[in-house]
Amino acid sequence: MKEEQRDAIVEVKNLKMYFPITKGLVRRKIGDIKAVDDISFEIKEHETLGLVGESGCGKTTTGRCILRLYRPTSGNIIFAGRDISVMRERSIRPLRRNMGAVFQDPLGSLNPRQTAGSIVADPLIVHHMVKNGNERNEKVAELFRLVGLDPDMMDRVPHEFSGGQRQRIGVARALACRPSLVVCDEPISALDVSIQAQIINLLEELQEKLGLTYLFIAHDLSVVQHISDRVVVMYLGRIVEIADSQELYDNPLHPYTQALLSAIPIPDPTIDETRRRIILKGEVPSPTNPPSGCHFHPRCNLATGECRESRPELRDARGGHQVACFRI
């Protein structure tokens, strides 16, 4: 397979990100929220890696660790051959040029008092990539055209744009420094249904044109599966399954993935009727006090004593399809 030969642009090894729970006036630490609990995966060059899971599973935290917006508790993040997990803020800055980020809420992630043009120009100025105002305007206009916006709209402020256009500004800002990796954190979930496809297609076209690598974080498995080459499924801070997008749909191995797939209806009643439905019992437990052993065992039909006691490691089931379950 061609996929196998690609180099990894990001390697995440045993990443842990714990947030302290504090109590009282002196903020005494009484515990940890294990938002991300020992996960390893890699993002290959020019691929789209999807990261999917329900709220609180640690998908956003993982994305932020890769951008080094958080300093991980432990573990390594190798970006472009260098371990960024322990680097100082000053030495990371030049590397950030190679990373872009698109956030969920396009209105919340754009400064309402800044013009669209200056929002997109900011990264260029921060990274000293333009010498003067003329060059800056040229570059911004070019970026506007790249994401399908009219450069004449540069002087408008975010509220004058529609939801889809705002997200295009977000994409233009992420691409300003021509990064190699773009982390998209729920880039379409705040948009209207008919607009979502515009942004998905834009991201796909830009990837082809510029050879980008995406980490695509979302809770909607049908969207993730559509855009991604490979998909990572997370549950309560851990990875439960990694597989090629089509393989994950055709042959989901982990009981959680199976339930997640069956919970998503297909917008066609004749096809949907024929599908098997698995309705999970209970809810996602709180990450402050996760269940012992396999985090999924209280909701799993297959759980045994072993699942309650020890944590299943992620292992290769076949040809790159990895799963963390004792019973598979």
């Binding site: 515009q198 796909e204 049908s222 599966q225 559509h226 919970a263 297909i266 066609d268 009643p269 809810e283």
Partner: protein, 329 residues
């Protein structure tokens, strides 16, 4: 068979500083007994406002139900005063509503017990002890474990999914004829969404209640409803049995929507998404004529000259408001 609820030519307008917003502009729909129907559309298409108008929960001013009839039990509900006793005896008792955000629809400073028994005491004249017992029963029915002690909790002690179960229990409490669920699962995770929709489907069939699901999620509609209404810019553009609308969509907007959502199992190499160009219109002072026209790929000369097309019959219970016959395309 006569319909349980029949809404005819409903118009709800909002007067704003910038002009008149025709949020709902001539909407007609009906619900039969023991039926699950779906109303789909994007944000701002008027789906929630039509439901709130049925319940007379529109804030006036700025809102105003300008015209229409809401026939229920042989009576026109719009003839009743919004805060009058007749409307109050229907709202919550005969027609109940479940709102989108369970966390913010419950009062944070009152216990679940207090909020649940209120409707029972008010509508059914139950005594507080009987009302509490009935509430516990209802909570058990919607799958709240340990209901006897949980009933004295406050909403913040429940998760989002649990709160929505409480909302469902409250909606069921007076044995309503119709439950209107306005985006009941949008704020919830997919596995919780599946649990709750299965629960709702199950209880309405057990209690012989009709259910209206208002949502923007086409998948939810496909899986759970029998009949569907597609709304755009304050009007219904297509209606019909779920299998007809999904299997043989006839309005350019419905067709566009179906082509623009990714489906499970279809990666981008298999099928490229076809987005609908442009954005939904701003409803302030809309020009006459079809509101979908600027985004429509199939528009003709006629569309630009004529007013907004009325719904025409294209099949059994299948109606569409479009001049172009999409069957031929």
């Amino acid at each position: 068979m006569t319909a349980l609820l029949n809404v005819e030519d409903l118009k709800t307008y909002f007067k704003t500083d910038r002009g008149l917003v025709k949020a709902v502009d001539g909407v007609s729909f009906h619900i039969n007994e023991q039926e699950i129907i779906g109303v789909v559309g994007e944000s701002g298409c008027g789906k929630s406002v039509s439901m709130l108008s049925v319940m007379q929960l529109i804030t006036t001013p700025p809102g105003e139900i300008a015209a229409g009839k809401v026939m229920f039990d042989g009576q026109d509900l719009l003839k009743y005063k919004a805060k009058g006793s007749q409307m109050c005896s229907i709202r919550g008792a005969k027609i109940a509503m479940i709102f989108q955000e369970p966390m913010s629809s419950l009062n944070p400073v009152l216990t679940i017990c207090r909020q649940m028994t209120e409707a029972l005491e008010h509508h059914l004249g139950m005594h507080s002890r009987a009302a509490k017992e009935r509430s516990i029963e209802l909570l058990k029915m919607v799958g709240i474990p340990d209901a006897e002690s949980r009933i004295d909790n406050y909403p913040h002690q429940f998760s989002g999914g649990m709160c929505q179960r409480v909302m469902i229990a409250m909606a069921l409490s007076c044995n309503p004829k119709i439950i209107i669920a306005d985006e009941p699962t949008t704020a919830l995770d997919v596995t919780t969404q599946a649990q709750l929709l299965e629960l709702m489907k199950d209880v309405v069939s057990r209690l012989n209640t009709s259910l209206v699901i208002v949502t923007h999620n086409l998948g939810v509609v496909a899986r759970y409803v029998q009949r569907i209404y597609v709304m755009y810019a304050g009007r219904i553009v297509e209606s019909g049995l779920s299998k007809d609308v999904f299997g043989n969509p006839r309005h350019p907007y419905t067709i566009g929507l179906l082509k623009s959502v990714p489906r499970l199992g279809e990666t981008r190499s298999k099928r490229k998404l076809v987005p609908i160009d442009g954005a939904p219109p701003n409803l302030i002072d809309m020009p006459p004529g079809c509101a979908f026209l600027p985004r429509c790929k199939y528009r003709t000369e006629k569309c630009q000259q004529e007013p907004w097309p009325v719904l025409r019959v294209v099949g059994k219970e299948h109606n569409v408001s479009c001049y172009v016959d999409m069957q031929e395309k």
